[in-house]
Symmetry: D3
Subunit: 284 residues, 6 copies
């Protein structure tokens, strides 16, 4: 009797019932305006995670000691963002309802909206930590309000002023920066300056943590739709991710915008895998 | 005084007023279900056409003798297919209203629907010639009715039974073939068998000609979202295209599904350029 | 309660107990002498099969009607061919012992030896049908007797003279051809000439069918370690594969030598998927 | 009435008459000795600039407020460097004669010579600021005196001792460094050390600024003919470029040596676009 | 005592004195007007030939029985075509003076001119057989008379009317075809029709054979600067090459226009290697 | 009389008798567990070294003044690690016996074992300096004891406790780190901290220096089998390499794990070439 071919992120093979963290993929990129391809991100992360070890010398911890279930990728409808967001929201609701922590792998950044909708239902005082190269604060993009370029603005529709904190931002149109500066969101350009202080302030508050990997410098992470020169280093991002996952009350998170088709050497996927491993270990 | 940098398909630089044919690009691929990237097709065709000559030794004719205007690419909204189709329809209407022939460069195959909507307004007895590897006859795809996989079914909504003729089809689900065989569309699997007879029968009827380049064998045309082994050769397609453009009363046409990102050697784009040149010369 | 993430070749999701055919992957390429990478072949075929339909317009048949179980990839030891062959043999034995047909996805061609060892135990009068660009008849390669370049010679060690039939061969050193011509194996250079007659002759005999995909022309199948110009077309291979699977008493088979890393456009993987689908349907 | 398809670097669409800066491309790489392909640099920068925003969060300024005209690419003769340099000189002369600032996009570094010839006619006391990985001070290269490897030596022929200042240099043959050190040019190896002091000293002097993008580390800028490990970071280059453009009396400048064919992920082109945007804003 | 690292085309290791055929590479592409890179062709052919066998099942012959010396690549000056052609001519003269047959590996097609100059000195009644996709009959290209697009015109300057025979031509501007048809050259469009008859007619005449590999269909040979859809198959080219090399009195020949940078799967280089092997065996 | 085509690393063309350093390549990667391809590393380094200068502005020294012989690549048996290691050991023995310094270019890291075996014969008190991202301390990998993942463990079998010093390590399974920390090897995670002190301590001791290039950050060196985010910069590695080669009594060394197939832009090979040049100059 041969077994089924079950595929997971490396070391994430706990039974669902015993898991405290549940991974899922949201392979969607229909609103990407420049170079599409992030739909293949979650699958690549799962598949290439086997180039990693389960052990982290950074945290001296091992995924084989954590209890994580990988529920695979959603099958999302391309061309209908509203329907796709509904499916993401539903998956997040199931995981949250079972008292587990959802960790979503994108996909483009718009997928965050589905997960945030589910989180804000459960945690009305939700705060959002946003690591990204792009402000994503447009009200619409070429007429579409459900767009990767508007995702944080849509999250703001749900949580309101003073609840969203951006780091690493180095691109946007002028109006986005102006709008944000009117007290709607708190934006730290270019760096993680102020993150420790913020985490101190957010102690005990429920936090949704969304990580757009294009915050990384394109040298480290070329495989993304809209590479922006001048990003943070891997070490800087790793430190910040560990800080957030260890100090904040994270109630949901995601890692998005890996586009393997623009990553011919595979270093972006390998980097994404490592960030996910460290995040999972820090959240465990 | 220096000139503006006007970019066109090679040799397509007639003033709009004097042109009998008008090119435009429809860079859209939001509903692509497998590998996106056709949004870059029209731009690549325009740009790489300069690797071609304007002269065709096949037809002993030269684009410098034709009168063609290239109006560039539309700026379409990713993530909202209905809005994008509206923009395509409008551009087609303008060209048709000015008594010119619209030739659209995709983009994914869904863009055809916008152009067919415009054509059927003017020509209620429109017939459709469809060259493709895929039947594209689904009623919906994962819930979406505006999808590249449904485009010919949507065209059938407009023109009805007995007006659509497919050639080269070698992929689809069983229900598509069954539905088509109920008298809705006429499907020639694998080849162009029967094309001369059909063209004889369509004499004088207005024809919209939609060419999905993935009808070509993947060896000739690897750069497409869903390559299907077992396609036609370049010579077979060239003969068929010339036959259609010279014998049928073509009132609109398009060439779609080039995805340059999957074409690292550039042969797919070069092939698309040559097909477009021959089509334009045959339509002139 | 969320489900495990089970991955299979498209449509091959029968329970093991109900399956008549069992797929497995043998990701091994340690003896490849030129360009390695076929270790990623089986995984790519499984993953990219979702760009296919389950329905074949060639055979008017559907994988959803077949009963096939995909048991995933073996975890093989790189650097120790003898150990890897042992693992392959064992997996084949299990499947054969359960009265099911093993279909193995390589990996390099050496993996065939493990499966043939298992088959010849059960079927001492085993015959071997070998489609390939290369003769693979060396007695050793740079000193190694367990090498992809020697695999058919090693099979001959097991089945003896007059039991091996090669088609499409267009590369080898002079001594291989001379050795084969001494009555050891029957070699049809370049083409499938004589295949129907052979199949007539083999009626009722147990046949192991090994398909090295580099028999295809490199234009159709660039993604392989040692591309050899002048191969067969997809149509020719499809016809030959269907003929074998429909007429011969196939007791084991494999498809090997896809190397996705040399397939940047993805057409080789797509072609391999289609051949596997057609083979599975014809064997069902 | 449809419009012509005018293509410009993003936001550079002022009418020529109103422009203070004029962009043009010099797609030439015939003397490149290692890996050619910079001929595609200017076109890629123009095309991919649409992945950028017009707004710079570094300078809090927007290209839509600047007045820049993009006159497109010259059509240069490959295989005849003297003729190509003549065409570049002529285009530069026109722009300078109209009292505008020419900004040239290469192409290989030799193109600088054409622009410097035009600048030195108007500004006999021209000084040259040279950012590069390579010294480019050979008197000839394999017999050719018009070569990318000799371009700064040829500029020295025009401006003489003490007028050329190099930064970031980390490659050259021994004789180049020795020749330079004889008082002909001032060379800062590896870094921008001394740049602020130099700019102080050059106050009021006319400066031609030539930026070979291979000064950047290959991790940041792989897409160039001769990548040299150990280059400057994006942040270091950005600071230096802004310093030059804001403090020096720049009368002409160029950005060269992007080779898109060696940039499969697109990060080099994206970085080049961003440097050009920042340069244009700082010069405005 | 360790040996020097001598690199040759596979099996071409005869001492110079004993060789009847001498290979050399001409890595030059400075006049290439579209996509450069053929400078890497000769080196790639030499290097990748080790993926081949020395034995040909087509001719039942082995390079180990031939006497061929590989003299490596010339070091040519990029940016000065006249100087490069002089170096090629000189190398050809040495080989011819020693009574050996020169076989040159390009590089772009212009390199043929250097070899033809040497051949016509020795054989004033030289005839030229030209296999190509492109007519190469322009009198100048953007002002340059020494250009790959003019190479056969320049050869005509040397040999005059009625001595040049082209096959497979499928691209050129109108004036090239018109000029050729005025009795200057004999052009067979698209195919090898008439080749056997021509070879009969050329019996005993000295023939220079120049093979531009882009005569092949781009599916078979994507790795070239200007791919032209609709070319000949590998089988057709192989037959034609064998016919020429076996029946004509070949006094010099070349194989050119492989551009490895546009050949990510390596099939173009592998095909070039095989054509070179077959040509060498047929000439032996 | 034409010369043989001798290929060397740039500037390494001393006669064997006069050389103090001897280069050789060990193109082997059969035990690579993740992405193979390092077999092409040594050849790529030799070939692409011609994109470098022979002069180092870092050391103000020139390879033309050194006396180095490049003996080319070994022809190793894929699929039989023991046999391959024997061939490497033998080549190293010859070089050492002639009183010269062997510098080996890999290949995968396992090749180090062959060279260390030869070195330890001559220098029983051999110490090993190991720069790497990976600990390589497993006792076996999937059952194989001769594996790239076990190479330093196998070296420990030869030299014993306290003789192996690792730097830059950032990956391994938990048991490797635990085993090492039991006094078997000294491991500096992530960085070169402590290297100067160690070199002081090793004064006069014979040192084998093995450099796995994946110690570099993947942004700098993507072209390797198992990229690990968070590596050292080029500047850090260069400093450390110069320190080792200038201060330690190096009796053998190697540079390994370049995999050109994962290096589409070529920056990894270019970086490897530069490191080798600097190492050779520092060892001279």
């Amino acid at each position: 009797m041969l077994n089924n071919n079950i595929e997971t992120f490396i070391g994430c093979d706990a039974p669902y019932g015993e898991a405290s963290i549940v991974l899922f993929g949201a392979p969607f990129d229909s609103t990407t305006s420049y170079r599409p391809g992030t739909r293949f991100g979650s699958k690549a992360i799962r598949s290439e995670s086997f180039g990693l070890e389960t052990y982290s010398p950074y945290q001296n911890a091992d995924l084989t000691d954590a209890h994580i279930f990988d529920s695979g990728d959603l099958e999302l409808c391309f061309g209908d963002p509203a329907m796709a967001l509904g499916q993401i929201q539903e998956r997040s609701q199931i995981i949250l309802a079972d008292g587990k922590l959802p960790v979503m792998l994108g996909g483009e950044h718009l997928v965050t909206l589905g997960a945030v909708r589910a989180a804000v239902e459960l945690y009305p005082d939700l705060h959002i930590l946003h690591f990204d190269a792009h402000a994503d604060l447009r009200d619409d993009y070429l007429g579409a309000t459900l767009s990767h370029a508007c995702v944080i603005r849509r999250c703001w529709d749900l949580v309101g002023d003073g609840r969203i904190f951006q780091f690493g931002i180095r691109s946007g149109d002028r109006s986005e920066f102006l709008w944000g500066a009117q007290g709607h969101v708190q934006t730290q350009k270019f760096s993680f300056d102020g993150l420790p202080q913020l985490l101190e302030r957010l102690k005990g508050k429920p936090v949704y943590f969304t990580l757009d990997l294009d915050i990384l410098d394109p040298s480290v992470f070329p495989g993304t739709g809209t590479p922006e020169a001048g990003g943070v280093t891997f070490g800087q991002l790793l430190d910040a991710v560990l800080m957030v996952c260890q100090r904040a009350h994270v109630v949901g998170c995601d890692v998005n915008e890996l586009s393997p088709v623009y990553d011919p050497s595979g270093i972006s996927t390998a980097t994404a895998c490592k960030i996910v491993r460290e995040m999972l270990l820090a959240l465990s």
